[in-house]
Symmetry: C2
Subunit: 138 residues, 2 copies
């Protein structure tokens, strides 16, 4: 995700508006490495801006995703999580507490489709999900 100032410009260039709710959501996501769900974002925004609605959270997250500012993580079977770090990286999720951590190693030199599939698919990215138990839960 870009800085809040750059994001503001990005919004404007798309004919979108900067509202207090959006600003709050941006600030909560900026540099956030906890991979929050929509509900977690909602709770944190609500503390500071108690009248915000869930609808606004969902719609803003959708907007940010469509602008390519955040990534939707499909790794927890129960709900979606959001990651403001859009650079390629990987994740490890604890089977017990469901906490998601980043894995920054660059595996790309070793990972590509077998030649036999190369003509069948046009690959844009890949993501590795590690599963296991974190120290607390083990």
């Amino acid at each position: 995700m870009e800085t809040v100032e750059k994001l503001t410009r990005t919004l404007k260039s798309h004919g979108l508006k900067l509202t207090p709710q959006r600003l709050m959501i941006f600030k909560i996501l900026e540099d956030n490495i906890s991979h929050p769900s929509a509900e977690e974002v909602f709770k944190r925004v609500k503390k500071i801006y108690p009248t915000v609605s869930f609808t606004t959270i969902y719609k803003t997250l959708e907007t940010l995703r469509d602008l390519g500012e955040i990534k939707e993580l499909i790794i927890d079977e129960d709900r979606k999580h959001y990651d403001p770090n859009t650079k390629p990286h990987h994740h490890i999720i604890c089977k017990v507490c469901k906490k998601i951590n980043d894995v920054f190693e660059d595996f790309s030199p070793h990972i590509k489709l077998p030649d036999s599939m190369g003509s069948e698919f046009d690959v844009s990215c890949f993501q590795i999900s590690f599963h296991g138990k974190c120290r607390n839960c083990n």
Copy 2:
């Protein structure tokens, strides 16, 4: 997934019963490489066994998952998919039509957590999700 005969024995050894509905679900999953969702399994069973209920599909898939006979794939943001191939392998999903294909290359020699994280997590497995477009959708 094991063959239908072996599965029948596995069920019995767990005090579970072989019913016509289960047999039908087993046969549809056996050697199935299409990574069906619960609904796709339901539709296919219903063609042959029209009175089957969605509940039975869900409960049987849960049972098979708990027995370790099938794997639940968290790769499509919209719904869960099921894979009777429980050997480690990877997947590629088309962003457009959502079709899931297998990737059988063994990347394990190259993939492990960075040393700095090794003490934080006890990793049991990893899975690579490739994203792209299939030939039809490109």
